[in-house]
Point group: C2
Chain length 331, copies 2
């Protein structure tokens, strides 16, 4: 692990200059400061700022995820993380990011420059610029729903998608359904891949054929439904498993638009149990992700990484919530 002295030697400047650069002092130039930071990151320097009280700062980076209102998916995750972090005397900043923002500055440099001891990343996609950098980051980092191999500074947190989809299919099988369609979420997402594999496993375990006309990828929005539901209905599906609750909302609307009643003609099951799912018409049967608990565990994992415990994965149990959008198949 590089020290301040190593960085000073490499740059041919004094230790106090490096220290000023790392601590954001105003009496060195921006250019020199950036050079100090970039060199520090490149040499694998990481701070022990967490010991100083005023520097106990963690960061939540958010992309592609709504979190500001209590009805939104990210709200409880952020809340759970903050609740646990505050109790342990950490400050937490929330920073929404875009791919362009990630292109502008290196991940480690950003954290170092702003005095963060670690970060939780929500909603990142596999092709995001920072994802590649996470393979080598030296900063304690917890990633929701994404996994980075072989880097002990990064941990994956999420819900067990395999068990979640297995619960959904098993619920439908118990209700007598045999012709089950799956409208998954966006491609290029680890969560989507896992749910796809889980669906295929569950159908295979039930000795049901995988009908190509009954499996599709959409996006994690309601609008996906109109492109795929007509095909599912034409292929004789009696039940549709959805990649999330928003997709399920679109699926219900599309079924109704085409003269099919939910659940009388078609059972529909979602994933997530967002707060509004109970207010859908009909109230949605879904697989609940315990978002507050995900946030709380994300803090625990991040704190473990900061304390050099190389946690790799923390998964929470999904839970089947039975409401009124599923019922026994018609004979």
């Amino acid at each position: 692990m590089a020290t301040i002295k190593d960085i000073a030697n490499r740059l041919g400047v004094s230790v106090s200059t490096v220290s000023k650069g790392l601590n954001g002092a105003s009496d060195i130039s921006d250019e020199l400061r950036q050079m100090v930071l970039d060199t520090a990151v490149e040499m694998g320097y990481s701070t022990k700022r967490s010991r100083k009280k005023e520097n106990r700062k963690l960061c939540i980076f958010i992309e592609n995820m709504s979190y500001e209102s209590i009805d939104e998916f990210g709200y409880d995750i952020v809340l759970g993380f903050k609740q646990n972090a505050f109790r342990h005397k950490w400050n937490v900043e929330i920073i929404p990011v875009t791919p362009a923002f990630q292109d502008e500055e290196r991940y480690d440099t950003f954290l170092l420059k702003n005095g963060f001891c670690g970060a939780l990343l929500l909603g990142f996609a596999l092709h995001d610029p920072w994802m590649k950098q996470l393979e080598k980051t030296t900063m304690p980092t917890v990633l929701l729903d994404n996994f980075i191999s072989n880097n002990p500074n990064v941990c994956y947190i999420g819900t067990d998608n395999y068990e979640g989809i297995a619960l959904a299919v098993s619920h439908l099988l118990t209700l007598g359904h045999r012709s089950i369609a799956f409208l998954n979420g966006s491609l290029y997402s680890m969560v989507t891949d896992q749910r796809q594999e889980a669906f295929e496993n569950a159908m295979k375990a039930a000795e049901l054929p995988l009908n190509k006309d009954q499996v599709a990828f959409g996006y994690y929005v309601a609008d996906s439904a109109k492109y795929h539901v007509p095909g599912f209905l034409a292929a004789g599906a009696t039940a549709i498993v959805c990649g999330n609750d928003l997709i399920a909302q679109g699926v219900i609307e599309e079924c109704v638009r085409r003269g099919f009643s939910v659940p009388e003609d078609i059972s529909v099951i979602g994933f997530d149990d967002i707060p509004v799912a109970a207010a859908f018409d009909p109230p949605l049967t879904t697989i609940r992700q315990e978002r507050n608990e995900i946030g709380r565990c994300a803090y625990i994992s991040l704190n473990s990484l900061i304390n050099h415990i190389p946690i790799s994965k923390t998964l929470l149990r999904p839970k089947l919530i039975v409401r009124e959008s599923t019922e026994r198949v018609k004979e």
Copy 2:
């Protein structure tokens, strides 16, 4: 969730009798006490004992694992668990168990009767009597190296075996080995299954054939080696991946006995990094399991379950430790 009153009603006795039965008071008969406990378990009653200071008791059940000396595999796991538990004011009891002991008493009843709020289980095999009961247990339970589906009261903790074996094979590939054998541990173990799958995946990813003569299951002891090493050598293996360090020790001895030098003729890599691995002749290259950290995380997971956070899995990173039992393949 059943209450004391529910149990009293079911048995037709007073609330105070049930309370005495649950709390181990001496003024009711053993027979009545057992009936109270069995009924409590059957009705899904679980205590909130953790709030009473004198009842903050956790339990570690151990089977098939040595832990009493600092050289043994389980020592650091137990230590890490206790360190974290003591800091949070829990008492911890260690109870070695056998299958016969498990047959004698139900898991939940044993915990309830002895006032434990939760337990860590080390070294249990898939066919152990209590494993079946864990599918329905209402007691917070953390299982090392085993997974129970669909029960939010049970969590699996361990090292990421997939990444561990991938690291081992990748290390050997980097050294130019192409003819790699695998002497795995005992059958009927989740860990063994995962390592087997990981080995097959790693060979496939490297586009190397899986030679049936170069893959075998033994037991997690040194003695396994003599039955399988001769075949590996005859089949032209230049490197042997082992299911644990004890197997690796046996493999090295068997190679030497047959006139092969390690690492000059055959590279050998272990799994676990038990304390004596560095003292093997030659010192063993191996995949380290961070056992103290496993113990510490096991406590964190158990505490989460006690607080109704449905953690399902916590995995730690393995780490490649390069010593002298592996070297570049001879041209």
